[in-house]
Structures are given as C-alpha cells and as structure tokens.
C-alpha cells in the first residue's frame, strides 16, 4: 500500500524553561492510502496540535510532514493555503460553516476558492449520501448539529482531497447523532476511497477506525 501521509521526527514545544509544554515530541507516524486512522488521547495530550500540523495549519519547530510525497512545510504560506484546499479536507468539532452561505455553497466553497469548476454530479452524489438533498438552500442556522456536521463532511469530500482530517467531529453532538455522523463519515470515506485521520477522546468511536493510535504527552505510544 502506498503511504499517503508521513511525519518525520515532528517537534512542537510551547513556552520554555519550567513551563515548557511538549505538545509534539519527536513523533513519526505513517498513514496508508485509504486507511481510516483514529488518534486517541486525553485532553492536553497533543492530539489536536498533531492534527493541526498534519493539516498545515500550524508549523512545527522541527521535523517534516509529507503528504502525497510533498513536504508541506517547504511551502510558503500562500502555497500552503492552495495545498490545503486541494489536498486536505477538514472537519472541525464546531462545524465551522459559513453562516452567510447555504448548504450547497458551503460544500462547494473549497472548489470555489480554488477557482475550479464544480462537478455537479459528483457533489450531488455526496449530498445524496449524507442525506441532505432536501436542504440544499438552507442556511447553517436552520440546521441541527448533526446536519451541520454532515455538511462539513460533504465539504471535506467535495474537493477529492488526498486526506481528510477530522478534529473531534462528534464532540458537539449528542450520542445518537454521534453514531449517525460517524457512520456516514466512514461510509463516505470508503465509497470515495478517501483516507481519514480522526482525532477523538472517545474510545468507542475510535473503535470504528481501521487503526487506532494513542498519543500521550506528545508522543505516539501505540
């Protein structure tokens, strides 16, 4: 199997001296193409920092993040932004939809930013899968939490990224909706052959992944 994502000796420390926090401490991981990986850790274990680094949102002190063979931190900020919208799909805990845009627009937003033509058939297919075909013109404020997160999933899929990064995607949802959203996410990732790295503190949810990594004090321990 082809390795889609790899970190090499990744380091990120905050502060110094006594109060130094080793958010990421010489971490090297590897994710294969089409894999569903869950990164599990307690609050403060460094899992969010790791995800941010994987997504190119934050720069490490040292080390490399290689996605699809490209060392993303060799890119300048502007290039990195372009890289993100082409190669990475994000799903955030608090959905992060644009309140002014309707469901359809939120989904095609990354394509729009990239100046790409929307493959309407493909996007409509995704929307069918997440079950929001009836809500295309609704604004985020009219949706429930679960529906919002489904929109976020569709948005992450729409640009056919190399990898999807999900940061506690069910953190703001009740337990019934939680399972529903995770199922949809997993199903979609399979269907579209996507790679998914998900952060969670919830062991049950983690169990749905192909592989679980546990992170403690900035180090992947398993």
């Amino acid at each position: 199997m082809e390795t889609i994502l790899k970190t090499v000796d990744l380091v990120k420390y905050y502060g110094d001296g006594e109060s130094q926090v080793r958010a990421i401490d010489h971490t090297s991981i590897q994710v294969e193409n089409g894999e569903f990986v869950a990164i599990v850790g307690r609050s403060g274990s460094g899992k969010s920092t790791l995800l941010h680094m994987l997504g190119g949102l934050d720069r490490p002190d040292s080390g490399e993040v290689i996605i699809g063979g490209e060392n993303i931190f060799s890119l300048k900020d502007e290039q990195l932004a372009v890289f993100r919208r082409r190669k990475i799909g994000f799903i955030f805990q608090d959905f992060n939809l644009i309140p002014a845009l309707n469901v359809w627009e939120n989904i095609v937003l990354p394509l729009g930013l990239d100046g790409k033509k929307v493959n309407q058939k493909f996007v409509l297919d995704i929307i069918d899968h997440i079950g929001l075909a009836e809500k295309l013109k609704a604004l985020p404020s009219q949706l429930s939490g679960g529906q919002k997160q489904r929109v976020a999933i569709a948005r992450a899929l729409a640009s056919r990224p190399a990898i999807i990064l999900a940061d506690e995607p069910t953190g703001n949802l009740d337990s019934k909706t939680e399972m529903e959203v995770i199922s949809i996410l997993k199903r979609c990732v399979r269907k579209y052959g996507q790679t998914l790295v998900m952060i969670t503190h919830d062991e049950t949810i983690a169990q749905m992944a192909d592989r679980v990594m546990i992170i403690e004090d900035g180090k992947v321990v398993r």
């Binding site: 900020d77 502007e78 955030f92 992060n96 644009i98 309140p99 845009l101 627009e105 604004l139 009219q142």
Partner: protein, 830 residues
C-alpha cells in the same frame, strides 16, 4: 464599588480598541458642541460689547422727517427719547471726490451718540463749527480750536444743494478723522442748530430722528423691529426711511433666529454623534452576545445587564467628554481670536473695538453655561446611543447566548445561492447576510457624506468670483458717476451728461488701443418710468421716475439668456425694440401682479426730454446686477433708437491675463480728467468679496473637516469590526484553503462595497440636497449666491479620501489579523 461597576470597568479595559473608537466619537461630539457655541457666542459677545461701545444706544432712526412730524414724535409717549440730526449743508471744495457734510445735532442726539471731540466743545452759535484735521487739509484750509476760518459751503434744501456761499466760522472743537473718511474723502463736520435755523427757512427742515423706544424690555429683536416699522408707517414714512439699529438691537435683545440656527447646527452634530456611537455599539454588540449571555446564565438580571452596558459606556464618556470639552474650549477661543483679528477689514471701527476688548480681556469667551450645556448634551448623546444596545443586551437570554454560533437566530430563511462560488460571490453573500447592518452602516457613513456634500455645495456656490461678478462683468469697468441735486454742478446730473457724454467713440478707441485690452463692450443706462398708464411722467428731471433702464449689447443679451426665468429672450418684441426684460427681484417687489406678455408704458429720460414707448414684458431674468442692472432691460439698439442723446453708461473691458493692473492704471490716467467717469476693477471687487466670505469659508470648511472626521471614524470602526466579528469565520476560510491574497481581496471587495455605497449615498443624496440648499440660498439672496457650482473638488477629495482610508484600513486590519496564528483564529470562539 459594586460588582456591576467592577465588571463594567473590567469590560472597559478589555474592549480597549472599541472603547478608544467610541471615546474618539464621544470626544469629537463633545468637542464640537463646545467649540461651536464658544465660537458663535464668544464672537458675538465680543461683538456686542464692541457694538455697545461704538454704536449709539438708539433702537433705530427715521429718515426724511419733516418739522411737524419731528415735533409729533418728540411728544409721542411711546418713545423714551427722540433726537434730531439735520444735514444743514456741505463744505464746497469744487472737487467731486471731497465732501464735508455739515450736520447739526440737537442735544438728545449728541447725548445718545457719544461723539467725543479730540479737543474743544460742540458748537452753539451759528458761526461755530467742529472740524477735523483731514477735512481742513482736504478743503485747503488750516486752523485750530479758537481760530476763525472762511468756509465756502452749499446750503441744503429739501435734499438739494444750493449754490455755494461763504461764511466765517470759529472752530470750537476738533474731531478725529476715521480711516474711512480719509479714504473716501467724505468728512463729517458739526455745526450748531442755530446755523441750520439761519440757513434753512422754517418749514423746510428735514431731519433724521434717532429714537429709543419705551417698554420693550423682554422683547425679542424681531418684535422690536416690527414695532419700529409699524410706528414709522404710522408717521407716514416710506419703507426705506425706516432703519433699525440692527447691531445694537442684536447686542442687547434676544435674537431668535441666531439661537435657532445655532440650535439646528448643534442638533446636526448630536445626530451625527448618536449615529456614530450607536453604530459602533451596534456592530460590537454582535461580538458580545455570548458574554452577556453567560452573565445572564450565572444570574445577572436584565436590569443589571442594562446597567453594565450603561456603566461601561459612561466610563468611556467620563474620559472622553472632559477631554473633548477642553479641546473644544481651546480650539473655540483660538478661533474666536483668529476670527476677530481677521474681521477687521469688514467694519474697521467695530473690528478695532473688538480687538481692544479681546486684548483687554474684558469679554469672557469661555462661558460656564456652554461647558455645562456641552457636558449635558454630550452625555445625553451617549445615553441615547446606549439605549438600544442596553435594551438589546438585556434581552439576550442565557440559552440563546450559549447556543450562539456567531450567526443570527430565527428569521433567516433559505437562500437561493450560487451554483459555483468565487471570491466576489462569497463577499456578496456576506454583505447580503446582514442586510440591516449593511444598510445601517452605509446610511450612517453616507449621512456624514451627505452633510459634507451639502456644506461643500454651499461653500462652492459662495464664490468670491461670483460675488465680484455681481458688481463687475469683465476685468475693468468704466462707468458714469452722477451727482444729483447739486446746484453748483448741474453738469454732474444724468440729463446733462447724456447731452454731453464723455464716453465718446474716440475715448473708447483709445481704451481699445491700450496694450492688453481685448474688448470693450458698451451698455446704456438711463432713468425711466414703467407703468400701466400712458404718459405718467411729464418732465425729465422729475423725481418720480421709478426705474432704471439698461440697454444691453448683443453679447450681453446672450450672456443673460441662462438667467431668464420666465418668457424668452428670443421674443419677437425684443427684436423689434418693443420688448423689455424685467429683473425678477424688482418685479416681485414692486409689481407682483405683472406677468410676461403684459403691455406697459415705458418712459425714458433722454437729456431734457421724455420718450415714451408702449412695450411688452417679454421676459423676466434673475442675473447678476453687473450684467442686467436692477430693473428694466432692453436691447442696446432699441434704447439708442428711443433717445437722441447719448445714454452710454458702462464700458465693460476685457483684458489679457496678467495685464489687468497696468491696463487699469493706464485707463485711470486716461479718464483722470473726466470728473464724471469712474473706474472699477475685478481685482478690487474680488478682494472685497474674498474678505466678506473668508470667514464663512473658514467656518464651513472647519465644519466639513469635522464631518469628514466623523465619517472616517465611522468607516474605520465598521471595517475593523466587520473583520474582528468574523475572525473565526475568516480563520476557518483560511483553514480550508483561502489564501492570504484571497482574504485581502475579499476584504478589499467589502471595503469597496462600503465605499461605493457611501459615495453613492453621499454624492447622490448630497448633490440633490446640496442643489436644494443652493436654490434656497439663491432665493433668499444669501451671500449673493447666484450661480450653481458643483463641489467637484470636495467631491473628488471625499471619494479619494474614503477610498484611501478604506484601502489603508483593509491593509492594516489584514496585517494585524495575520499576526494571529491560524489556530488562534479558528479557535477564537473559545
């Protein structure tokens, strides 16, 4: 300190940048409401004090009062005092430009007028006189107090000056020469009542009666003026012979119009202040919903939330209001001083008195009541601006706030949206999302812009050039200077001049040949009478003539065309010489019933003769006086054809640029020997006009600067808030791949939208209202505004400044935004 105050103060510190903005807005409001009354009240209080020193304490004067009427007035119980002054005659120098007017004052006037002699005493006997040094010199005489001088003089008789005789006077006193007297060559001398009685037969005395009214305490100036007018009319006096001492009245009684105007201006400032402060709160409130919600969640009552918002607002005001007031006082007093020093040219005596008062520190410019008023008005402004935010904040429920995701609750409906997105579409969606906010922002930005454009229009129309053009058409004018009712010089009367007019073709040619002169246009002018009756006037020197008739050449007629308000300049009657054009102002005032198409009888003075013609009122015009005169206009050929004598009156001379002074000097030399010709130059008129409007312009542009400042502040606030409120949203957009350049582009587009909206509102509504203001000023004859000038330069400046400010703000906002790491931006909600 209770917990609400503590929290309010903590908030006050936390929301530093917002509070600085609000502080500036409040400070500006306080500054303006302090400065404006300080300038207006300070200026007039110094002026009033000076008026009371310079002007006699009389309420008004009635002119052309005969002996019987004067006696009746003296006995009239409604006057507190009536004093008489009579023009007994004038010293005769033979020089047209030197006059020594001999006034006889009664005791009352002498007492009221406060005339002070440099030395000596007022004349009592018929052969006593008070003179000035300048007058003696101009008349070719010399002497001091106690000396006897032989004075050639012309006795006055019913407005005419008789043949000169000589009389020996003893100088009993000397007066100071005013600079005006020296400049104009018109001196005032004082003779005794006995002298007036000696040279004017009983029954033929004509007085000017100065009076003080009784029982007018507590009346406003308008009422007093009205009473002066009514009383005068009861005595059968003509309108133009009733004069109120406006400056004295204004200085001592309440002028309603002044305070109304001041109040209106303050209202505009307060309104602008409220709008600005309110819009800052309105925008930042969106950001604070969560905070107030949390407080509600932990048990704060609505009342406490209201108090919290209120106290935070007033904490800002506590600093901003005193600062604004202090700056306002400093700027206000500075301006008053500058204005008083600059005003000296318009009324020298008054101006000098004002400077003396100012420098002696007698007049207090800083007034306690203005400070109190300004503080009260500013705080009220803050309070009113806070009302809505207080209400809004208190209505936020805990649940609402905790669920708050930065969007809006409730009413939003689905939006149609775009199939594909790009940056402009994204921007449009954002702006469209909160239409009300977008509209409020543009309205409040536009409002100051509208005020700016309106004031700029008024300033622009108040052009020194137009004012000067009111009295002079081209670069130089040579015209006839007539002198009526002088028995010594019948040759200075109009009829005589017409029969031997010095404005000959030869002289005209000579002028034409002067280097720099490009053209000389001739206009005619004569006295006339216009009536519905035939043959109303019988003889040429009749004082009954009721109008001027100006004859315009083809070029001038063409120039008049745009000023025609009714009828047509192409009317056939004007072509065949039987049509006249009427000045709109004169028509409205004297013959409101007449209209275009009416048949009238025009009589004109032609030397010793009267010519009559039946004419048609072909058109009405509202042009500058220098072009059309005051009354009746007809084509030059028509007037020439009616008269056999030469009615040439004006030469409007155009001169090559840069040669005006030399040419004027040359023409001056050329006509120096012609006593009845005088010369005027555009430059003189322009300088005079500039003096007159300089003040207004300084004030207006000051006001403009202030409006501009308020607007810019508002724009800065809007832009900063629109970014900071959405910082999480923007961060998220960047997380999913919006590049820095795209972010900048989006912010720029938003800014351009606000800029375009603001400019559309400012320039659109502002231009319309500005034109309205122009029409109003034109109708009311304010500052001789006649010609509309679009305030193009200020409008371009406004557009440029707004655009530049917007680009700058976007740049700085984006830069400061970049400093936050992307993670911080995404996480901002926490």
């Amino acid at each position: 300190m209770n917990i609400i105050t503590t929290t309010a103060l903590a908030n006050f510190k936390k929301n530093k940048s917002r509070n600085i903005l609000i502080g500036i807005a409040i400070g500006l409001t306080a500054f303006l409401v302090t400065m404006l009354p300080t300038v207006v009240i300070g200026q007039i209080s110094v002026q009033f004090q000076a008026v009371n020193e310079v002007y006699p304490p009389v309420h008004g004067a009635y002119r052309d009062v005969d002996e019987k009427t004067a006696a009746k007035m003296r006995a009239d119980e409604s006057f507190a005092a009536v004093g008489l002054r009579e023009q007994a005659g004038r010293m005769y120098s033979g020089d047209k430009d030197v006059k020594g007017v001999m006034y006889a004052y009664d005791k009352t006037v002498l007492g009221l007028s406060g005339i002070k002699l440099k030395e000596g005493h007022f004349p009592k006997k018929a052969d006593e006189i008070v003179v000035s040094e300048g007058c003696l010199k101009a008349m070719g005489l010399s002497g001091g107090v106690g000396d006897r001088i032989r004075v050639p003089y012309q006795p006055s008789r019913e407005g005419r000056f008789l043949k000169a005789t000589e009389k020996e006077f003893t100088i009993t006193g000397m007066t100071e020469d005013t600079p005006e007297a020296l400049e104009k060559g018109v001196y005032e001398l004082i003779v005794s009542e006995a002298f007036a009685k000696e040279i004017i037969p009983e029954g033929e005395h004509i007085y000017t009666a100065y009076f003080q009214l009784k029982d007018i305490e507590g009346m406003v100036t308008e009422e007093i003026e009205d009473r002066i007018k009514r009383t005068g009319e009861q005595y059968g006096l003509a309108k133009e012979d009733i004069v109120e001492n406006a400056e004295y009245l204004a200085a001592n009684y309440v002028d309603v119009a002044l305070y109304t105007g001041l109040g209106l201006l303050l209202a505009v400032i307060v309104l602008a202040g409220i709008l600005t402060i309110y819009s800052i709160y309105y925008v930042s409130m969106l950001d604070k919903v969560k905070e107030y919600g949390r407080l509600r969640a932990i048990g704060a009552t609505k009342r406490q939330i209201r108090k919290l918002v209120f106290r935070e607002g007033f904490a800002v005001a506590a600093i901003a209001v005193p600062a604004g007031i202090i700056l306002g006082l400093i700027a206000g007093t500075g301006l008053v001083k500058a204005m008083i020093h600059a005003s000296i040219s318009s009324d020298r005596i008054l101006g000098e008195a004002m400077i003396t008062i100012l420098e002696s520190g007698e007049a207090k410019i800083v007034k306690w009541w203005i400070i109190l008023l300004a503080a009260a008005v500013s705080l009220l402004t803050v309070y009113v601006s806070l009302l809505r935010p207080m209400h809004k904040a208190s209505r936020i429920t805990a649940m609402e706030a905790l669920r708050y995701q930065g969007g809006r609750k409730g009413k939003e409906t689905a939006r149609k949206g775009y199939r594909e997105l790009n940056i402009p579409r994204l921007t449009a969606s954002n702006l469209g999302r909160n239409k009300k906010r977008t509209a409020v922002t543009i309205a409040s930005l536009g409002m100051t812009g509208v005020l700016f454009v309106v004031v700029a229009t008024c300033c622009g129309c108040m052009a020194a050039e137009d004012m000067a053009r009111e009295s002079i058409r081209k670069d130089i004018v040579v015209s006839i200077d007539i002198e009526q009712e002088d028995e010594m010089h019948p040759e200075w009367e109009l009829d005589a001049i017409q029969q031997d007019n010095p404005m000959t073709e030869e002289l005209k040619d000579e002028i034409k040949n002067i280097d720099g002169v490009t053209s000389v246009e001739t206009s005619l002018l004569t006295s006339g009478n216009i009536s519905e009756k035939q043959g109303e006037i019988k003889n040429a020197d009749s004082e009954e003539m009721n109008c001027d008739v100006k004859g315009l050449g083809a070029a001038a007629m063409k120039e008049l065309e745009p000023f025609i308000t009714d009828g047509s300049i192409d009317d056939p009657s004007l072509k065949d010489g039987t049509g006249i054009i009427f000045s709109k102002a004169s028509l409205q005032q004297d013959h409101p019933g007449w209209k275009v198409g009416d048949k009238l009888f025009l009589q004109v003075m032609d030397g010793k003769e009267i010519r009559e013609r039946k004419v048609t009122l072909a058109a009405v015009a509202n042009g500058p006086t220098s072009l059309m005169g005051y009354y009746v206009i007809m084509p030059e050929e028509a007037l020439r054809e009616m008269c056999s004598s030469d009615t040439t009156f004006f030469w409007d001379i155009s001169v090559e640029e840069g040669k005006e002074d030399a040419t004027a000097e040359r023409i001056g030399e050329l006509i120096a020997d012609e006593e009845v010709l005088e010369i005027g130059t555009f430059r003189e008129m322009y300088e005079e006009a500039e003096d007159t409007i300089r003040f207004m312009l300084v004030g207006c542009y000051g006001l403009l600067a202030v409006f501009g400042l308020i607007g810019i502040l508002n724009l800065i606030n809007t832009m900063i808030n629109s970014v900071y409120v959405r910082r999480k949203e923007l961060g998220m957009l960047q997380a999913i791949g919006m590049s820095g350049r795209q972010t900048m582009y989006m912010l720029q587009l938003e800014g351009i939208f606000y800029t375009a909206g603001t400019l559309a509102v400012s320039l659109g509504i502002g231009s319309i209202l500005g034109y309205g203001a122009f029409l109003w000023a034109k109708e009311e004859g304010i500052m001789s505004i006649k010609v509309y000038h679009y305030p193009a330069v200020p409008a371009v400046c406004l557009a440029g400044i707004v655009l530049a400010v917007q680009i700058l703000i976007t740049f700085f906002v984006n830069r400061s935004f970049k400093k936050l790491s992307l993670i911080d931006r995404i996480r901002f909600a926490e």
